[in-house]
Symmetry: C2
Subunit: 147 residues, 2 copies
């Protein structure tokens, strides 16, 4: 589902950016954690492997990775940006109690077109490049724990 090392290196090179250890590790961390980490969380984890890492590099890298479409930015929170290496269109659910963000494979009505993101669409005269669907509520765990 996510790019493996070989393909990642090629994809980066095709887009004119070099596969530095920092970039490889940052992408790998995002791709292997479905927690939709923030820049700070990415930094905290990758720092253990590359102690010289700076937050500036994390911010630079996630911007570059988002620009070439390797990851998506999630703005489900108003005050921090989260990153997702699963670039197939899917929705997200945020539990307002525990704060966790869950992937939702499809809109609840079965109509959250999974093909968007590849094709441009026209919406009331505007050209759509991308969309995000966010749900908010109480997750299963929090609901059951409160019983």
């Amino acid at each position: 589902m996510y790019l493996e090392r070989e393909k990642l290196i090629n994809f980066l090179k095709e887009n004119g950016i070099s596969p530095s250890p920092q970039r490889m590790q940052i992408y790998e961390y995002i791709a292997t954690h479905d927690t939709h980490p923030t820049a700070d969380e990415i930094y905290g984890a990758v720092y253990k492997k590359i102690p010289s890492l700076s937050k500036t590099t994390v911010y630079n890298t996630v911007r570059v990775l988002a620009e070439i479409g390797l990851i998506n930015e999630l703005t489900i929170d108003g005050t921090e940006i989260r990153y997702d290496a699963d670039t197939r269109t899917h929705a997200h659910f945020k539990c307002t109690q525990c704060g966790r963000i869950f992937d939702i494979s499809d809109g609840f009505d079965g109509n959250f077109s999974p093909e968007l993101g590849k094709n441009e669409l026209n919406l009331e005269g505007h050209t759509v490049r991308f969309k995000q669907l966010y749900y908010y509520g109480i997750c299963r765990d929090c609901r059951e724990n409160s019983n």
Copy 2:
């Protein structure tokens, strides 16, 4: 579509919060501007009518208004929260060129259930209270101006 003065006062009182001039003006500003203003923009505008206004009061007020459901928070941007007094479920389109945010009356596929927000829904075991659909792209004006 938006609460007029009388109803606003009653609604605030019903929810145990007093209809102070600050709260009235802040709600009125959001309700009469479809620009989805940020706290800073609200402050800049309401400050002209209430020069003693502080940003803390703006932040306090928008939190309270959101809690009682008078306004919605938009997190279409990752780094700032915008406010919308139209609490009917509808989508938003953000132009990545000019930065403006447009109301979209309905999802492009006609299936963005307008009744959500009133009824709770179950989604893969989680309890949904609220949802937001955000589109990103180039607005009509920007597209035509670039020709």
